[in-house]
């Protein structure tokens, strides 16, 4: 028996979410009195997992996995479950994890609970708390069967330092070319920008910014904060910003530490997608805007005056705290 942790990687190194997923898996293993084993695909040096309580690392080296392939990742996970007798598989909430996990669940006929926000309330039976209805509610979900898959919500659990050996061993089960099935032709990713899913801070603009020509305000603020940029749905529908920035119930979910909404009214569909963020700030010139009811901090004012001022103040703050 064990807890199997799927740690994601990119260009030979762990992705940022690996630490949170590893922490969750290791703490769960501790609660279950078992061992935390990580699967790491094409990671040059997995030893850092030791600081999060991982006991063993199954290290896969497969050049075919240099670009992510969900079906093949699910196959590796399935083989790792067989190898370790895992009772629980812990995965993250990235687009890749949410691509591979249901395939694994289908292969194993295992229950899968995504968007889990805390360690299980009970391990026998296994019961987890997860967000449902786009953050408008929580469900307590029981997972039955021999193996269960838990998808940990980003930023909900955090990292927990713990001692582990992270004993690496080569893991090379047979995974046929047929397991690939899809072929990546090209990846189009802005390397100089922070992805919404990875961001601690997200700066988001709405229709209140009047037009795409004013987005320098959003970009500059995001630049000072090291934040990702996002937008409301109409902004992307009108083509002011790319669809990949659309956040909300029908766009990308946001679960950052800080979400700053500028010129966004706070429609129910927008809030549903961003409410999981820990601290929300709204800047809007209409004191009646619904976002003020959902936010922690707010400024009632004109974005074109407030935001440049905020950028200046943040620059001063950064200079003092550098």
């Amino acid at each position: 028996m064990s807890v199997l942790i799927y740690t994601e990687s990119e260009n030979g190194a762990f992705r940022k979410n690996a630490w949170e997923v590893a922490s969750y898996g290791a703490q769960l293993a501790k609660a279950m009195g078992t061992e935390a084993v990580a699967l790491a695909i094409n990671v040059t040096d997995p030893s850092a997992l030791a600081s999060y309580g991982v006991a063993r690392v199954l290290q896969v080296n497969d050049p075919r996995m240099d670009t992510f392939n969900a079906r093949a990742a699910a196959t590796y996970l399935e083989k790792a479950v067989a190898e370790t007798g895992a009772r629980v598989v812990v995965v993250g909430s990235s687009a890749d994890a949410k691509f591979a996990a249901p395939i694994l669940a289908g292969n194993l006929k295992a229950g899968y609970a995504p968007n889990v926000v805390a360690l299980p309330e009970s391990t026998s039976p296994l019961v987890v708390r997860r967000t449902v209805f786009s953050n408008k509610g929580f469900a307590h979900t029981e997972l039955s069967g021999n193996t269960a898959i838990i998808g940990v919500s980003s930023n909900a659990f955090g990292t927990v330092e713990a001692q582990g050996d992270a004993r690496a061993e080569a893991f090379a089960p047979e995974v046929s070319d047929a397991a690939f099935g899809t072929r990546s032709v090209s990846v189009d990713k802005a390397t100089d920008k922070i992805a919404i899913a990875d961001a601690d801070i997200v700066v988001s603009g709405g229709r209140g910014l009047k037009g795409p020509e004013n987005w320098n305000l959003i970009e500059e603020l995001a630049g000072v904060l090291g934040a990702a940029t996002a937008c409301s749905k109409p902004v992307s529908d009108m083509g002011w910003r790319p669809h990949s920035e659309h956040v909300g119930q029908t766009g990308k979910p946001v679960a950052s530490n800080l979400y700053i909404a500028i010129g966004i009214s706070g429609a129910i569909q927008h809030l549903a997608g961003v409410n999981a963020s820990k601290v929300k700030v709204v800047i809007n010139n209409d004191p009646e805007a619904p976002f003020f009811k959902a936010a922690d901090y707010g400024i009632v004012g004109d974005a074109f005056e407030v935001v440049p001022e905020l950028i200046e103040k943040l620059k001063e703050f950064k200079a003092q705290n550098a």
């Binding site: 249901p102 072929r183 189009d188």
Partner: protein, 248 residues
């Protein structure tokens, strides 16, 4: 080409979410149900393939008789036939297993589902279905072109997009981008009239256990009031975010 579009029946996005008094279930009192928004994009993409490529488009839903109005809407938008698997959709594994049976029996080559249902936010059914059927799968799909048995798909990844080549049989987890918002079809009078003549087949479920069960629900705790900062004191906001909220 035979296409199956999987439709889940979900509360309208403006719905207030409440649970029953014993917290054991979602309270549907007064809730309007609609086609899951992610499925609407998929259905419209399928309509395009019907018109331009001569595809046959069926829709399937796992649910009780109460989901039929949503299915009629899909027929009014232009699907040729509908299939209702007569069972409560208990969990992703159960639903995927039911749909797998429909896909096998109907020899569908392309299955278009949504990235996730906006109610339980599972994001499970399409991937599980692909696994059960041993079909190729592209999730968070924002572009799809089929030619013969080859498929070119674009999927959203964290921070960008990826173009993928694959082949039929294929399952898609779709979302906005498959078509633009402005291209979404709204049923017109003629569509609604024609939908009345179309077949809505009801089939019994096959045996399959569930892997998960939602034992209880709760609403998030009420939020405290917003702290307002005067627009002439923007520096205070930076202070609060640093010292109080500790996010800077």
């Amino acid at each position: 080409m035979k296409i199956l579009v999987c439709i889940s029946n979900v509360p309208d996005t403006t719905s207030k979410i409440n649970f029953t008094a014993d917290q054991s279930a979602f309270d549907t009192t007064g809730v309007q149900f609609v086609i899951n928004p992610n499925d609407e994009f998929g259905l419209t993409r399928a309509m395009w393939m019907k018109e331009k490529q001569g595809a046959t488009v069926h829709v399937a839903t796992v649910g009780g008789p109460g989901v039929e109005p949503t299915m009629r809407k899909a027929l009014a938008i232009g699907a040729d036939e509908a299939i209702r698997i007569d069972a409560e959709p208990t969990d992703g594994l159960f639903v995927a297993r039911q749909l797998a049976e429909v896909v096998k029996n109907g020899s569908y080559e392309l299955v278009i589902a949504g990235r996730e249902s906006i109610d339980y936010n599972g994001g499970m059914v399409p991937g599980m279905l692909a696994a059960m059927l041993d079909m190729n799968f592209v999730n968070t799909c924002i572009g799809l072109e089929i030619e013969g048995t080859s498929a070119k798909a674009v999927r959203e990844i964290d921070g960008g997009k990826e173009t993928i080549e694959t082949s039929l049989p294929l399952v898609i987890g779709g979302q906005k981008g498959l078509v633009e918002e402005s291209d979404l079809r709204i049923p017109n009078m003629r569509g609604i009239m024609m939908a009345r003549q179309k077949k809505l087949n009801v089939v019994p479920p096959v045996d399959m256990g569930a892997g998960t069960k939602d034992v209880s629900f709760e609403k998030p705790p009420a939020k405290g009031p917003v702290k307002l900062v005067d627009p002439s004191q923007v520096g205070q906001l930076v202070e609060l975010l640093h010292k109080e909220a500790k996010v800077l």
